[in-house]
């Protein structure tokens, strides 16, 4: 059985039918990538999984447990962490306080301290700036902070929403190699990206989303060779 199972999910924004029956499964240890253009429903999918949105129809299960009996804030202790679109760091909290908020649901002081050390080891830049308020960090540093903060909850499933958005190419490389590292240490990842090129390089499998529907799903290697994906998302004619 897959770790995350999204089955025939329909989500509405008011009257707008944003997700029209989406089914995704993510097995433990995988990196699965969700690619698609603007307004395809990528972010909506992640927000539905993380509990910020309620689906009208369909189910989302983690390890077989239905997630929508819980509120968004309760899902963190179920093992889901999300790095929201636009990073969502708390601009007026310090770097250290942001990381502390990532571990909000935990009470094991020693474990939190260990994870804090790990986060600083993963991103030494954050260590240098831990007393600085997060709003003064650069875009790349904020992305690192958002990822480190999500990892502070010790998630089994990490949802990443456009981690490469607005970053310089060097930083995009760094972020994606970190994603691969985090995955190797045992965290399952569901990645939403416009940068299909990078996303399919790091992912094991991928789904292509168009106007609220899954139009294609395959291994990342096959998707990279798929003519439609090449034309629409990889810029290859």
């Amino acid at each position: 059985m897959a770790l995350l199972e999204v089955t025939d999910v329909h989500t509405y924004y008011g009257n707008i039918h944003a997700l029209k029956g989406i089914s995704i499964s993510v097995a433990e240890g995988e990196i699965v990538s969700l690619i698609g253009g603007n307004g395809a429903g990528k972010t909506t999918t992640l927000r539905t999984i993380s509990g910020l949105l309620r689906p009208q129809h369909g189910s989302v299960t983690l390890n077989g447990e239905d997630l929508h009996q819980y509120k968004a804030h309760q899902l963190v202790s179920k093992g889901i962490a999300m790095v929201p679109e636009g990073r969502g760091v708390f601009a007026r909290l310090s770097v250290a306080e942001n990381l502390e908020m990532g571990a909000y649901h935990r009470n094991d002081k020693d474990g939190i301290a260990d994870d804090l050390k790990r986060a600083y080891a993963l991103f030494p830049r954050l260590d240098e700036r831990k007393t600085q308020v997060a709003g003064t960090l650069s875009g790349g540093e904020q992305q690192m902070l958002a990822m480190a903060r999500a990892m502070m909850s010790r998630p089994t499933l990490l949802l990443l929403d456009e981690p490469s958005m607005g970053l310089a190419p060097v930083l995009v490389e760094l972020i994606f190699s970190t994603i691969a590292d985090i995955n190797k240490e045992g965290t399952t990842i569901l990645l939403v990206e416009q940068n299909a090129h990078m996303a399919l390089q790091v992912a094991h499998r991928g789904y292509v989303l168009q106007t609220g529907e899954i139009v294609l799903q395959d291994s990342a290697k096959n998707l990279q060779r798929n003519a439609m994906v090449q034309k629409a998302y990889l810029g290859i004619d």
């Binding site: 968004a72 804030h73 899902l75 649901h105």
Partner: protein, 356 residues
């Protein structure tokens, strides 16, 4: 050069004129008072007295202003029922705790325990009223347009006023006088009314305590996180509804304590006592920069001092009789001035686009 003049429209000009007139009036009045000796002749002790009474009144404003600022910080809503949180705790504590304790003589035998009991009761009742109001009246409107909770808050304010009028009647209830707080302290040769000194010290302790709570504790950090982004806070595992309720409770606790201190100074409480201090504290919060905790403290103290020192200083200097009755005019003129010329307040930051 002509281009520069073209960019100035007549509203700007009018506002500049308005500002200049106010400044000239204040300076003129002050100069007339100090150098020409208009109005009553005050001794140095009198001025110190004005200042200290302003400080104690201002620290009450500061305590109440915190509630406005905290709630505004997380919900971007002006909770106009906050004055009633202030009133409800004190009214209840006076009727059910202070008067019986005073009648039995316990309050004079053990003034500290007695006062703590009164304060604790007031704070708990205020918290109860605040949490109930938030749960019943505000939470269902969390996603409504911003005008809706504002109007609801005004309705809630009336509801609580007349609810407590129904409970305790519309007459003034005397707040007991403590024997130990009669008279004055002598501080480096300066005579200070004991009640005023107690008010200032208690307020400062609570302000510092609250600042520590919000900046250092996990719950305080969660409040700040919720203030910035509720969705992301929820993704961190923060229970947003609970955190907002805690924010209301914190502000109400401060208001409840301020109510008891108000009782100590003015020695009477009644169902309408929350209205004017509530509006004044709102003014103080805006003055300091709404959303900012040090701003609320500073705005409160500043407003209190200006209200107390302003009338004898520049109003008397202008030859205006009965200046003290015009202290509300000073307070609200300042509110208007701040809203026109520095809407972010003394130390507030400009609102980010998201919040504006």
């Amino acid at each position: 050069m002509s281009q520069r003049f073209k960019d100035i429209d007549y509203i700007d000009l009018l506002l500049w004129l308005f500002r200049a007139v106010i400044i000239i009036i204040v300076i003129w009045g002050t100069v007339a008072k100090i150098f020409l000796g208009r109005g009553n002749a005050y001794t140095a002790d009198d001025w110190i007295d004005f200042f200290v009474s302003g400080l104690s009144q201002g620290s009450l404003y500061a305590l109440i202003a915190l509630g406005y600022t905290l709630v505004y910080g997380v919900l971007f809503m002006i909770n106009f029922a906050h004055g009633e949180f202030f009133m409800s705790g004190t009214m209840t504590a006076t009727v059910f705790v202070a008067l019986p304790l005073s009648a039995s003589g316990f309050l004079d035998e053990h003034p500290i325990i007695g006062m703590l009991a009164i304060m604790l009761t007031a704070m708990l009742i205020s918290i109860g009223v605040a949490v109930l109001t938030e749960r019943v009246a505000y939470r269902p409107l969390r996603r409504a347009p911003r005008l809706v909770p504002l109007i609801t808050a005004i309705g809630a304010s009336f509801f609580w006023q007349y609810f407590f009028r129904g409970l305790y009647g519309s007459s003034l209830v005397p707040f007991p006088e403590l024997a130990v707080l009669q008279g004055k302290y002598n501080l480096f040769g300066i005579e200070i009314l004991k009640t005023r000194a107690v008010v200032v010290v208690a307020s400062v302790v609570m302000l510092v305590g609250l600042y520590f709570f919000v900046m250092r504790t996990k719950t305080g950090k969660a409040i700040r996180a919720v203030a910035e982004d509720k969705d992301v806070a929820a993704l961190m595992g923060i229970d947003v509804d609970r955190t907002i309720a805690i924010t209301f409770a914190t502000g109400a606790a401060m208001a409840g304590a301020a109510g008891v201190l108000y009782g100590l100074v003015f020695r009477q409480v009644h169902f309408f006592m929350g209205f004017v201090p509530g509006i004044k504290a709102f003014t103080a919060a805006v003055l300091g920069g709404i959303g900012s905790i040090p701003g609320a403290a500073l705005g409160g103290l500043f407003l209190g001092v200006i209200e107390a020192v302003g009338p004898p200083l520049f109003l008397e200097g202008l030859g205006i009789p009965g200046g003290h009755q015009l202290k509300d005019v000073i307070a609200f003129t300042m509110l208007v001035l701040v809203l026109i010329f520095r809407p972010q307040g003394i130390i507030g930051e400009r609102l980010a686009e998201k919040k504006a």
